[in-house]
Symmetry: C3
Subunit: 261 residues, 3 copies
């Protein structure tokens, strides 16, 4: 028997919104650690990884590790039937082929139960190696979303140039050239509003804006985004879900050749 309960459905809805445009079908892994999901996007370019930790749930019970194969679109559609402040409870039998999502309104007058058929998916888990990164940038998630959206008007790729104290996002296209420069915050009242740049060595890498714009669908989950980059390894774009876990996206830099610029 698997049971997991959260006081507000909103966070699950936002998590599904954050990943359903990238992934068609995926497996939720249930263990005593919590719920997690890892999947390449449908075009096999980027990787999504979600962790929702046991201690973040109001109630969490897992008698046996389970792999719940779901159609993301269906699961998102059903979760949208919950109001943001509904209590939500997920349940599945150990040998069943159903995931049940039960929602309850705050005053208890409206309860609803959605049963979703599970799928038999054969998905191999890739190990994601622990990694030191050359640069770690933290910034307001809305700022990052705005930059990726604006630069998509210019070109297909964004070049990230990180130096001490700041970052440049630049793009090039037929209509012209754009460069957005962020300066590390001097002082801030609220850490979540700050721009910080942690740098071991400067980097200068090129990424596909199309995927970054998919990743920023996670913006409502967190006021802050963490971007980790190093040469030759995939960048990580991470959104913490307060007290519950995170959504992380991985995207390899574009291989540079002389024709590129």
């Amino acid at each position: 028997m698997f049971e997991a309960q959260l006081p507000r459905a909103q966070v699950l809805k936002q998590t599904m919104d954050a990943i359903k445009d990238l992934i068609k079908e995926a497996v939720w892994d249930v263990s005593s650690q919590g719920l997690s999901l890892q999947s390449m996007d449908s075009s096999h370019v980027s990787l999504v990884q979600v962790t929702l930790k046991t201690e973040g749930f109001e109630l969490f019970r897992c008698d046996k590790n389970l792999a719940l194969g779901v159609n993301m679109d269906t699961m998102q559609k059903l979760l949208k039937c919950a109001n943001n402040d509904d209590n939500v409870k997920l349940t599945a039998d150990d040998n069943g082929d159903l995931l049940t999502m039960a929602f309850e309104s705050p005053n208890g007058e409206v309860t609803s139960e959605y049963e979703m058929k599970l799928m038999d998916l054969d998905i191999e888990q890739l190990g994601i190696p622990e990694q030191e990164y050359s640069c770690t940038i933290k910034m307001p998630s809305k700022e990052f979303q705005g930059i990726c959206r604006d630069l998509q008007n210019i070109g297909e790729n964004v070049r990230l140039t990180v130096v001490k104290g700041g970052v440049d996002f630049s793009a090039q296209g037929d209509i012209g050239h754009a460069k957005i420069h962020l300066t590390e915050s001097a002082t801030v009242d609220d850490e979540m509003d700050a721009i910080t740049v942690d740098i071991q060595e400067p980097v200068n890498l090129n990424f596909a804006l199309r995927y970054l714009n998919f990743f920023t669908k996670a913006t409502p989950l967190s006021r802050q985004v963490t971007i980790q980059i190093s040469p030759d390894v995939p960048m990580v774009v991470g959104y913490e879900i307060e007290g519950l876990g995170h959504v992380k996206y991985f995207l390899a830099p574009k291989i540079e050749n002389e024709d590129d610029e």
Copy 2:
């Protein structure tokens, strides 16, 4: 001569919004009792009935009973030209072929007059028999709208199961099964927010969600919806227009056969 005046155009706009997706053309019957309209929807499945009573108008004059045949789309388009807080006056000559809608802004600086050509429609009025119903459910109209919208994601029909103290709305489809349970309110501060279930005998009937979702277009007209159901007769979904009248929709239950579930 027919004249009818309301202090705010909003209620007429909302009434047209509530019915224009169901009905293409209809006849407004003018009598000393007020304005009323009754029409099958264009696919002849459901019935719409609107009553706007004389006493709800600021001014109402009807020298002779009239049958004003209108294209609903045109009438809605013209009413949309009024601001919500405009005063509105409808006039028609006893033997004319025009309905005039005059709007006046609260400060009197802007007045507008729209003349709409009337149509010669031959529509037979069905008598709607007075009826006792097995169950009468009252609930916030937005709640009902949400339920119908959510269940449409699951299947084509909704099963209403009414028992003492509560109602179940359930739907079945390829992606799974849904059941929404409403419990009668224990105590409420505002009667319009309450869920009440008045029951003579339990009912268990199936209705087409497509039509219920048309009916909930009336949601802005009233905070509360009243649902009346009995076996073998059409359900009634009614919205009171405070002090003026009501919009009611009638829909027969689906005939059940063994294949249905």
Copy 3:
């Protein structure tokens, strides 16, 4: 060298929004007087004229008169990358083929620079003769926008009938007839909310609603619109940009013949 700086990007964004649906490509003329633009719309029916005066800028430098040919769509797309309260600075070299738009967030942490390729456009400037008009109407710009939008539901043209103390906007179509009457304001607290009608001689002219509805895209620029009309010359629909300049649209009346009404 050309440099021009404004404390808020919003006004430039709104100016572009006001004209980009009418004009595909145009030339910004830079002189010591400021920035200006004049262009027929793409179908050569109406004329747009924009003036942004030197004294309205925070900083304005023009060493040499320039004619900056731009693709309006591109310029609007790039300006949309600025936040409304960003500081904006335009620069161009005297013999260059680039217009640079630099934005800076209020706290200075985010700066961005967009370089747009200029185009070699051969556009003849028409002189717009100074003109006395028979009637000058001032009214809230939103009111005018609403009237043009509402009447487009009725017909293709609007007839303006201006008499002492008021204006009629009327339209005729298959579904009926509409007449909107504005009465000059008696007293007003705020001049920008007033309707005023200045009349030398009554006029009665017909204009294409399609173009008026393009012109009202300028509504966010100003709370008030000024409409000037005379027989046989183009009407002027003008929006003042407070302290900076104006956007004006010119549209010839429809030639009347007996078939028209």
